[in-house]
Symmetry: D3
Subunit: 276 residues, 6 copies
């Protein structure tokens, strides 16, 4: 399997690491310590260990995916050929920083909403940059990955409805698969009820304010439909207003910013000659 790590490394060293190949002796062994430069949740260590060991380096993990780290904590030690250690340094840090940044942001939101409503889920979207790795990071941070791709779950959105209408869309979807849930994005409450009648399993409320969601939840309860579907809030959600959404009684809050605009968590690598 050619992984994202492999592809990033191939691109980064397309003609080799000319600095190290020029100045570092071929047989030199060394040791790299991976150190957190700030507080957060570490994510990506298992993935990186597996990938880095494929090229003959030894990785000892000092933290586990999902652990909290603080500034100065060592999270892993990588040992082996010095040129290889320098070769993988930047790709290693880019993935580790990205995934830990996402996990940290996810954890912060999850903690925040859990204080208000322990049953609500924080979910990612498909607004990702590293695809699968971004989703795994959300999971490590305590979030829900939502769908991996266009292939694994039916989500009928505004553009689908604009082309074929809500009713035809849901009817066709219901015939297509017994293993997949059907989710429908709505902009008006009436459409939510219509979608449920037609057999939708999940309703995504696009750009509803927290108080609008609260009202919707009450309407669903009033009609005895609250247990038949999952309700998801999406669009316009931020760290500031997420607690209000959590209080609204919704089941799932999905946030694109977790993966399209996350700040990387800062790590560095110190490489020193191998002690014998």
């Amino acid at each position: 399997m050619i992984t994202t790590f492999d592809m990033l490394l191939d691109e980064d060293a397309v003609f080799g690491d000319i600095t190290s190949e020029t100045i570092i002796p071929e047989g030199l062994d060394a040791e790299s310590k991976v150190i957190a430069k700030e507080e957060g949740i570490v994510a990506g260590l298992n993935y990186l260990k597996e990938n880095v060991e494929k090229i003959g380096l030894k990785v000892t993990l000092l933290k586990r995916d999902g652990d909290s780290v603080k500034r100065g904590d060592s999270v892993a030690v990588i040992e082996g050929n010095a040129r290889k250690l320098l070769l993988i340094e930047r790709v290693f840090l880019n993935i580790l920083g990205r995934m830990s940044g996402i996990a940290t942001a996810t954890k912060r939101l999850v903690d925040r909403v859990k204080r208000v409503n322990p049953n609500v889920r924080i979910a990612a979207t498909r607004k990702t940059l590293l695809g699968k790795l971004d989703k795994i990071a959300v999971t490590i941070g305590g979030g829900d990955p939502h769908r991996w791709s266009l292939s694994d779950h039916i989500l009928i959105k505004d553009n689908h409805i604009a082309l074929v209408g809500l009713e035809e869309a849901i009817k066709k979807a219901r015939r297509s698969s017994f293993v997949r849930k059907i989710e429908v994005e709505v902009e008006r409450v009436e459409d939510a009820f219509k979608a449920v009648d037609l057999g939708a399993d999940i309703i995504m409320f696009d750009n509803f304010k927290p108080n609008q969601i609260s009202e919707v939840v009450k309407l669903f309860e009033a009609r005895g439909l609250r247990d038949r579907v999952l309700l998801e809030a999406s669009g316009g959600i931020s760290e500031e207003n997420i607690s209000d959404y959590a209080e609204s009684g919704v089941d799932v809050i999905s946030i694109g910013a977790l993966t399209h605009s996350t700040r990387s968590l800062d790590f560095s690598i110190d490489t020193t000659p191998k002690r014998n």
Copy 2:
């Protein structure tokens, strides 16, 4: 050539776009309008046009890479088979939002430093997520891409020096290539002078404060070395202090945050049946 776009699309539709294939008629034609949801610099349009047209859709660009956009501006129209339009929507927006976010942030910093010092360059680092595309976005925003990869420029960093020493590193580097400049990262001023004596073309000052850089620049001038090398500040630079760095007399300011922690610029796609 298999591009990043192709790979992201393949992953996103590994077994097809099951929603559209289920509910959208096979032969239906439609039209997608790509609309900016906020103000910024648009980047990635040429790249996306070339990639999207490979699968048989027609793209008309209404803006050019580097143009300013404001909320509500249409930047492109994509026409063709409705299933294909829906298939590429998310990957299209992810790349457009990412690249435009980077270009916008770069442009803001470039504008800021140009007011203080029109000769200073804002440069990216290798702290990227989409590699080449991130670098192109920096360029569109008016920045300098720095090195593309480990293969195209010699940059001797702290970990290299820890293993073989400054002197041996630069000597070997100088023998290796006549087409590549040699850059050396230093943490102390003495090392900068030593590096220049040994033939370095560029000195990167790691984590120097603006006033420390100012002093270094004066020392270089005093020794008559100012024209022989380029001076780069790196580490600890933010939107707040970048003007101070620009005033320090340094040639290049490189900022990892441009590409490792950028906020995506928000765009959306509206798809409607084709008017005849």
Copy 3:
């Protein structure tokens, strides 16, 4: 996107088609007629048209995926460079025969069970050879593709339960995703009820006889659980006994033989010089 067609063609012509390149003049144009040699359901035409046109041949479809064909029917005409026509002939027929064979077998079973119970679904398994193409063929034949891969649906099978137990498995699964249904394979009725209590959405009865399934369905009705879960029969199902399963009241009947042991439908290609 590199498709299965592309990969099969690359393998088949790794050093070119030496027969045609040796004996067919380079610029010769010709026309290939694709003809059914036996009765069945045709499947794969859209897929093949898209792939074949990528290399510069023109394909006119005379039938559509899902249509019935009888011996002698022309299903498509391919026009263009004679060497290219001969190059793709075998891969074209292999995929067309395979997919049509699967669609034909699926349709036959679907028709059979519909006479007994119009609500039952015939589903494929992951016992495939051409992966996605096999599943698409099942769909064209009126069946349900079940899960595409290990990534899109949670199915807890005997080997999972042997390792961690039914209860732990379902509990963890329920926490993992709100968009995915949870299916559990059981060998005993008690486990089915336990699984439903724990939150399973679908129960797969492994190697149950039709009368055993009937009893299970009655027990589910008796306990008021019939509407809360989907029931699937799997294992030991054949053309002979499938009507009995359909009568049992089960929702889904899945059959590996549809894709692991299907007979290809016979097609041939006649290539003649292009008439001007």
Copy 4:
């Protein structure tokens, strides 16, 4: 080398095996026993061992490719990380069942014809689904793989002759290579003699009945040509009439059904916690 196994596994676990990753503890070790569920010839074990060991599992083969197995026989034990064992289970069984199914059918036909004529060969065609693996399975079953691809042997078929004529085709073919035999497909006996005169090494008789083949063989003997060429019967051959073909005196009998419509041989995998 990226093998068919790798590609099938990548597709099957594009975003990982979500069931196992959710419910099986990360460090758990286990053991999988691969068991034959019916009688036949096992094939694919060497190939699978090599591929499975690449991802860090240990495979002990209890049978060898070509061995007979009966219901209940263990053919291999795979040990290692439980998640990995569950990850590869289906792809492993799909390839093993496919290859063993082909080897079993080949062996049955080979045994049948050998009783009648020990010198006749049973050969595959290019009507394959897994390409090389199907051909290897035919070989393990005692058959002849025929040509691997369009690149390794010259076979002039009806469509070639329709475009350029028999004579020109064979003349050009003879000039092209001294290492490749030239085979010509004919529908009439006169063409066979003409082909031999022009230098064909092998004649393939398309859709000739056994008694027609017998007559042809006699004519070849009468003209003193029997030792100069190999004669192959192809088309319309089945388990029922294959002995008649073997008696006809032909050298080779090729059968597409061996690879385009084979029944998989049934195997299962039992996974249990590792005994210490």
Copy 5:
């Protein structure tokens, strides 16, 4: 299909053609003339046309593969976007020069031996650098490509014989395939006769002098075996002694130097703005 051209171009422009992208306006059209700088046989034009047109340039061939060219001859014109023209220039010339160099050298040897013996073949070996392209160039020059790869012809060499002996090797080979010829490399005449007795179709005489080959040919004639096998001379053959080999009565002369040490034929590309 990802061709050698594609791979070389991808490597050469991994992050784009930074010179052209920097200095050539994006929409500029231009025209490149491909000109021979010395006399020889041109080869690779068809291959290059097909590959270059895939990226949207138009190629007009002024010569055909196999034509003689002299210094100053234009062999092709390529039109289109100026950046693309400059992008492909070096890869285009590398392949054209390589293939034409091989074709020219082959043609020279073929002409030389034909004067002495019109029936002898000049064949390539597997000592290639660009694999298939080198073989195609040999064919264009009038030579025989010999085997494409390890997969298409059985050639029993010294190292095989050292491991299992001549007799076992040939016996097993004869059982393996009816479509493949069996070639055996020998260092002594006795082994040649033994190999023929065992059923070899081609004998390769390794490092035999021309007069030794002549004697061998006579011995084969004396034993009445001359028509049963093809005789190939290999090893130690050069432009100087090749006529002697041609006179020896051998069927095939194979020469590694054609493809492992060929001089490229010199071509250049002149690019000018598009005339309207």
Copy 6:
């Protein structure tokens, strides 16, 4: 990372090594000795060891890259499964012979010019066949690899200047990057001075005779520009006249023939059963 070695091996054994798989017992172990057949500089051993060990063979190097070898010297021993040893033999020798041939030719030229002028560099061009491997071989031979690709250095050539003019080209190039040198190819001396004025770092003199280069060097000295730029001679350089170029005072002499028309160095492999 899929290397050139992997790709060549995949192509060479697309359906396996049919000779060895047919005649060599599966479990047989053997030993291959790699022997130089002529005098030269060996190159490629590290690369080959790393690639060959990936498939489970053990390589012991008896020489190091850059060492001199004479006829009969063993350079490496490879041990392991006999089929694998035979599988990689030809690809191993092709790469070793190619790289050693280039290193040998480079070393010869380097030695020659060093006698005249120890400061001059011999550089490769992009007229390569195996890309990166050719460049590495030049480096091992003591040469300079010049640019790896179109992405890592700005080289403004005749075709660029024909399209946009010298001045615009250099101005744009200077703005594009602070890490890349700018090289300009000139055909007239005036252009060299113009280029230097505009900021070029390296001037490439195309097809200048040695005495013309000498005069240019004097003019540069007279104008006080000699230390500001590197001067490169390119075009029309051969083993015969290279000493004259070295005497001319130029900094770099680049020669395409090193990589487009090199003679491979001859090596052979002897494989014998493993001694216990």
